[in-house]
């Protein structure tokens, strides 16, 4: 009796497995909906995916997953059983960790880039009668003493990028550079908004130099209130030899049930249609070279021809050591 029950069960299991296998094998399941995991500040304009839905019949749901670091931490934990189908926006400081944890199915593709650079308040510098700095070495000069505010590298992504710029520039000698920078009374705060909106002179602070983005000047122009006069220059400038290049990637999440459709979405993310929307909504540069930059970028954002870069493998390997060393110099 017992034997026959077990026998029946196992036959049932085999039968079901067979049905399951044929279901999968004959035709991969089609979906009407894909989930795009993205960091919280992913704010493309409304209707950005309408063209994709029109082409493919697939609706895109955006799932917000904390900031870029949180998103990668979560994706690494759920690798193989992801919370969505495609992930947008892992930058080169985190991409190595994501690929090492086998988050993606195949290679992630670059989707946009931008530069983290020292910005300056043109009016505030003029008032003090000082020229704008251009290089990292300039920042050590006594005329910029007590003028620079930077973000904490252990808590802020532009803060980390600036630290990486100095590591790329000075190699093993970077701790020395930082000791001198600290001696020049640089102010370290925990977040970009704190640096920009509290300490930067343009918003009432007392520091005319701030670590921000190469695209902050066009944002200052577009969002100026009251609006700026036609053809007036941007109120802030960029020290073009202090920049670290951040590249963001998107990839198909390993474990998605819909790899084919996910690939269509990736194709759309790097298509001209979608990439055209990026500059003035995320304030990043499109990776697609066919995209014409908007006027605000051409006029107000400097082209950074030689940004500092580091291999993302090295960043992943040394991040903890570098941050530990940096904390000892800058925070303790």
């Amino acid at each position: 009796m017992k034997h026959s029950l077990a026998h029946k069960t196992s036959r049932l299991v085999i039968a079901l497995t067979f049905v399951g296998l044929t279901a999968c094998g004959s035709d991969s399941p089609k979906t009407q909906e894909l989930t795009l995991l993205a960091y919280e500040s992913f704010t493309p304009p409304a209707g950005a995916f309408d063209a994709f839905t029109a082409q493919t019949g697939i609706k895109v749901t955006i799932a917000l997953s904390g900031d870029a670091g949180e998103m990668v931490a979560k994706a690494s934990l759920t690798a193989g059983n992801p919370e969505g189908d495609v992930m947008w926006g892992v930058d080169n400081t985190f991409i190595s960790r994501a690929t090492d944890s086998e988050v993606f199915d195949g290679e992630p593709v670059a989707v946009d880039y931008g530069d983290v650079c020292v910005n300056y308040d043109i009016a505030a510098l003029a008032e003090r009668g000082i020229d704008a700095p251009q290089t990292l070495d300039d920042l050590l000069s006594s005329q910029y003493a007590s003028m620079l505010v930077i973000e904490n590298a252990t808590t802020s992504s532009p803060g980390l990028a600036f630290l990486l710029a100095t590591i790329a520039a000075f190699g093993d000698d970077w701790p020395n550079y930082w000791r001198k920078l600290i001696d020049n009374d640089v102010l370290i705060v925990n977040s970009w908004s704190d640096a920009y909106y509290t300490s930067f002179t343009r918003y009432g602070g007392d520091r005319p130099l701030v670590v921000s983005y190469a695209t902050s000047p066009p944002a200052e122009v577009i969002f100026a209130d009251p609006p700026m006069a036609q053809d007036a220059p941007a109120p802030t400038g960029v020290a073009t030899e202090t920049c670290f290049r951040q590249t963001e990637y998107a990839g198909i999440l390993r474990g998605t049930n819909y790899p084919a459709e996910s690939q269509l979405l990736i194709d759309y993310l790097i298509s001209k249609d979608f990439q055209t929307l990026l500059p003035e909504s995320l304030f990043v540069y499109p990776i697609n070279a066919d995209v014409e930059l908007p006027e605000s970028f051409i006029k107000y954002a400097p082209q950074i021809s030689q940004p500092f870069t580091l291999a993302s493998k090295d960043i992943a390997t040394y991040r903890e050591v570098w941050l530990e060393q940096w904390s000892d110099i800058a925070l303790r």
Binding site: S41, L77, N190, A219, E324
Partner: protein, 510 residues
Amino acid sequence: MSKLWTRLASAPALVVVAVSTAIPLLAISIQHIASVDIFAVWQRPGVAEALFFSLWQGMLSTVLTLAFGLFPTWVLARYQFAGRSILVALVTVPFVLPTIAVGAAFLAVLPTSLHRTTWAILLAHIFFNISVVVRTVGPLWRSVDQGLIESAQTLGASPAQVYRHLLLPIARPAIISAGSLIFVMCFTSYGIIRILGGPGLATLDIEIYRRAVQLGDISGATVLGITQTFCIACAFAWWSRSQGAQFSKIGDRNSARALNRSSRIIVFLTAAAFTAPLGALIFSSLHTRDSWSLTGWKVLFGLQDIRGLDIDLPSSLATSLVYALAATAIAVPVGMAATAFARRHWIHTAVVLPLSTSPVVLGLAILITYDRAPFDFRSSRLLIPLVHAAIALPFVMRATIAIGNVIPSDLRHAAATLGASPWRRWLNIDLPLLRPALATGVAFSLAMSLGEFGATSFLTRRDSSTLPISIANLFSRAGDIPRSTGMAAATLLIFITGLLVVSVDRRSYS
């Protein structure tokens, strides 16, 4: 029969805690702790300092909050004056302030010399948590018979003596109750310290976040997270045991007294301290460069389109409100049932588990626990309100028990003798007397949910973003308009919460 009732009543609270916290914590411990050397984690640089800092600033913040908080609590409990309910709402709203807005508001009114100092943190902690004192201790003092105070005075007691020998002992259980919650809030403080503290200052919660997110060291973060939860749970268990004797004399509804000189000063100072940062926020929403401007508000309400600023206020506001109402609908009945029937100490320790757990660790734990069918709750819309409710539970329960303790037991006995079931006794005797506690529970649940408190900031959201997320996004853009729109959105969040709190209080905190 009665015992069974008691057990059943506390079951929902335990289920909420188990599902939201205990089971996920167990799961992440099993997966991630076994392989690491626990002691090595504690010896890493920064960890011991973080624990020490968490402890001392947590204790100091608690003592200061109680010391400063008892004054407005007394006045708000014993006097009637125009604008009283508004003042109660005003001290409650800081709870919902997204930390980024608190930073802006607080830094605007704080002298520059205090920026990024421990003083700024202590002041902000007082500002944030005073409502816990006002709302937990207040109802008790409200119930003290005026005759008692007057007879003490007739017998020659000075105000200080009345305070020390009469009012303080009466409020002792509630003060301990409030103090222990404030300690947890300050010990685990994250946003305030990130924004107002200097970059070198880190609590254990910040260190845990850094390990998990910046360094990808999930095991290390889990070890620290579990230890933190365990320490706080132990402290709580001890506190619960040392709760003072029950006070069984309940006064009449107090005759509304008019303000005298000293109470007027307290009202004025409290109002000033709480309006200044909020005023600074409103000012920043209306002022850019050197001119006044309504642009921020216009953009917020969709009256003006700015290229590159796509914020969908109605949908993010609706999402926030739906979450808040759902969280309140879970936390208040579940919490009140648990306290009304079960006066067991260990339950109070159990419900503080979600609040005392590091948001990162809890967020990750939930993620890896409920990831397989049929328990794949990661995308469930109920998950976020459930976690909000779990975090608000101890506030609901503490408020309830503070008052529940003073409900005369002879009333219940009389009802029992007359044949009323425990349920009827609770409905007809306890519930009406518990209305201030109900209001407090609702207010805290709404506020904690609207402010995106704790672990939910770490959970993935599938529908539209919430108001706090929209505010954070606005503050991550350079330019006048994102900034003023962000300030306007933060003001709106405060205003909506204030309105909800006032309307709840109107109904029951009277």
